[in-house]
Symmetry: C2
Subunit: 197 residues, 2 copies
DNA sequence: CCGGTGCGTGAACCCTCGTTAACATCCCGC
DNA sequence: GCGGGATGTTAACGAGGGTTCACGCACCGG
């Protein structure tokens, strides 16, 4: 409803009803969990009744699926693009990846929350698709971390990547208490220190 | 059922039915989310039918409440005890806190998951109680981090603490792929680097 | 005008699931 | 041996909530 999430609608100025619904749903899902949010709640958040949702989505699960797929795709695309644009230096690649993840986490704390909490309430097929995208994004990190730590094996790099994600994605817990710029700088510095430790 | 979670039962050798239920529930809640797990599922996991649960707990919510309260209490107690035993050196206190959190996260990945995912599906009173305990535990970290970074204000220390929690609590995502000792060492090193950055 | 298409509404349907009730069983102290 | 509490079982109730249905209405091309 506010400026919470920018990642879900392409046209931010006058989002279509469909995009309004997705964004409101993301917010509500993040606050209470997708299973605790009723279709009526989502409708009310955009000023319509519950069943009106079905003019735009096949089901409640379809909403969640589209939400998670978009997030995963955005992360994967953004991550690969940044790395490709960062040249050959592993440290430069790492820094740009961190900056990207920090920006995303600060822009979309709600999506971050939903992303790793409600994957389980997805139909098997959709869940598998999301996991494929997630895995590919993780692999982008694993590659870069592997070049930063040439002595480490892939499993170690993978654990490192997950740890950095956890660090950066702490934004939903600490958001708003500090000016955004400060938070971004702090998280980036901590993430780089952790990733290179 | 296996050796998954050691934090919930005092007598690990022959846990009472009540403790079996709590442990099985923690496992299931972590895998699927508390709302997606039925009372029948929990019962089946310990070899009884669903309604048998009500011989040991007043309600499904009471199970979740007790689970989260125990976790929060354990963390707060353990954290304060470790800090008190670590002497006056802030870095020594930080290191022992990190070691404690890493051990807990590796011993109880399921509890970690439930802890910060299902707080929202708790009755207001219980949720408030859990949050009080959480806050006090965070303050233990904030105090130590404040002494490690004398120039930082409390808000910054708090953000740092949450970031370190996120890093260490990534165990549910990366568990098992690496021998435990290696994971513990890696996480501790990363956490210390991040906390002192 | 006029019919169709898009978007919404309120009512009803029905399945899931937490909870309770009524009835067995085991076991232990007297 | 026997009464009673602890522990389970099956059957049933009832609320909540996702989904469908039948209908209204605005808008738009011909």
């Amino acid at each position: 409803m506010t400026d919470a999430n920018t990642a879900l609608h392409a046209d931010a100025s006058r989002p279509s009803r469909r995009e309004q619904i997705l964004q409101a749903a993301a917010q509500l899902f993040a606050e209470r969990g997708s299973r605790a949010v009723g279709v009526d709640d989502v409708g009310a958040a955009v000023g319509v009744t519950g069943p009106a949702i079905y003019r735009h989505f096949a089901s409640k699960d379809a909403m969640l699926a589209e939400m998670l797929l978009r997030i995963s795709e955005r992360l994967l695309e953004g991550g690969t693009a940044r790395v490709a644009a960062a040249g050959d230096d592993p440290m430069a690649q790492l820094r740009t990846l961190i900056a990207f993840q920090v920006d995303f986490a600060l822009d979309n704390p709600a999506l971050i929350t939903v992303h790793d909490r409600d994957l389980g309430s997805l139909a098997d097929e959709d869940a598998a698709q999301v996991r494929r995208l997630q895995r590919r994004y993780v692999e982008v990190w694993v590659d870069v971390l592997g070049r930063v730590h040439p002595a480490s094996d892939a499993a170690t790099s993978r654990a490192r990547a997950h740890a950095v994600f956890g660090l950066v994605n702490s934004t939903p817990h600490s958001a708003g208490r500090l000016p955004r710029r400060r938070t971004a700088a702090l998280l980036a510095a901590m993430a780089e220190a952790a990733a290179t430790a």
